[in-house]
Amino acid sequence: MRLRQPWLEKFALYSLLPAMVLGLSGCGGSSSSSTSTTPPTPVNNTQAVEVNFGPANNYTNGLFTDVTICVPGTTNCQTIPNVLVDSGAEGLRLLSSAVTLTLPTVTDNSSNTLQECYGFADGSYVWGPVAGADIQMAGEKASSVPIQLISDSSQFPVPSACTSGGGSNENTVAALGANGILGIGNFRQDCGSGCASTSNPQALYYLCPNSVCQVASVPLAYQLQNPVWMFPQDNNGVLISLPAIPDTGAQTVPGSLIFGIGTQTDNALGSAQVYTTDASGDFQAVYNNIAYSNSYIDSGSNALYFLDSGTLGIPDCTDNPGWYCPGSTVSYTVTNTGLNGTSGPVSFNIANADALFLANSGNNAAFNNLGADSGTGTSSDYVDYGLPFFYGRNVFVGIENQPGPNGAVGPYWAY
């Protein structure tokens, strides 16, 4: 239990509307929701997901699902379609324009609403208030979860630190390509202890008294939560299961997001190997005898972002910049090693992206062999296994500090 009493006292200034207080004190106060003595009755833990072009009709390799949110403790609910499933992030973020419910916001004791700036590696970001909602998926329900409402107004000007990555404010369907992002990655919170630090909190959360936004230190329980670990059961991770697809791509790909790992008959590890990650969610990938130690698996990345054209000896595309366009499909094998020493090869193909995007009259949204430039040879210290990695595999995402099968404890990947 990381949220100890002294923290609660120190952060007594934070208050929530009544429904939120109940839910969050439950989250912070119990040591683990998986320690109950009587096993819960199995619930439907399978959420339908699909790869398609998404609501902006232009997303390549985007994995989408529907998420139901409710005003905490009520049956006043709304189902938001076309939410991107992102294993490289934590927490639910929804375009405020897609939410018709009035949700209670997280405030300090001066009624200043907690705001968040969440940035991505490409410099783009989302900005907006933190609110509380019950989250329902399949038969699972997480109560009073802090989520982000991505702001489409300028109630508070976006802090300069939020825009210093150089990218776009993804606050519309056109910009985000989705109605929201469902972060179901390796961690309980989106930020963790770095944002709870009182001396040097990371610049994610803000309070904006008098419309001047300043970085706020926020205890774990008030940060955006991975909803999965807040389920009463099936809360130690997820299994993303997508079928294999043809090498020329597929128009849509139906699949499953299954909650829990080894908690029901449908989410056993089976033959999957467990690769534990470092404290940041990364592991080592070795290609051509060079180790890339910050490698990761990310359903929210839409390609295999793998080194650069010079290192791989294949050309970049001319029609579609940043993608690879080999004359014929090339196979690569990379060896992944977890922190626990588990090691195994991963093989994948990279095909000509110009040709892929033209196949089936341009109607394919899913490709298992789409590769992109991520950096120059030995200076790039990662391989980003995006959605192509997931086709034809069962990929398990183990959440930090949550016990899994065979003694596995998150953060880990298993496949």
Binding site: T163, G167, N200, G375
Partner: protein, 147 residues
């Protein structure tokens, strides 16, 4: 009050390094108050020097400086992205242009132009990347040193 005190103590103990800007001379930049919490480590290499700044929130920025003091490259790692507007200076506009005009990609960002290269990857809790000005590399030096 506690927050204020803690920051004050670190300020007194830490050095007050200037954060240099890509393409500018390291002595031409003013000290950035926001980054006073950083600790500085300098290393001389064959034909250039390396200036590494580690800030208290876990971010590291490494600057690569030519013998005459010009910042020709930089790299970063940390739980959040660094302030690229400040670090890239006049090159920031090229990053903005590339990042905001990019289509179809959802993942790491790579910018390659004749006078500016940027590679930015990772995810929350673990970002890493580098940027450099190819035309400013000291003669005979490979961009591979920037990592």
């Amino acid at each position: 009050m506690k927050t204020f005190l803690a920051a004050f103590v670190i300020l007194l103990l830490g050095s007050t390094p200037a954060w240099a800007v890509l393409g500018e001379y390291e002595n031409s930049v003013t000290t950035d108050q926001q980054h006073l919490h950083a600790q500085l480590r300098e290393t001389a290499r064959q034909g250039y020097s390396v200036k590494q700044l580690s800030s208290a929130d876990g971010r590291t920025v490494t600057e690569y400086v030519s013998p005459d003091g010009l910042v020709f490259g930089l790299s970063w790692q940390g739980p959040t992205l660094p302030d690229l507007r400040q670090l890239l200076g006049s090159y920031f506009g090229q990053l903005q242009q590339a990042a905001q005009s990019r289509r179809q990609h959802h993942g790491p960002l790579v910018v390659r132009t004749k006078n500016f290269v940027l590679e930015s990857g990772g995810h929350m809790r673990s970002f890493h990347g580098r940027a450099y000005a190819p035309g400013l590399l000291p003669a005979g030096l490979s961009a591979e040193v920037i990592r």
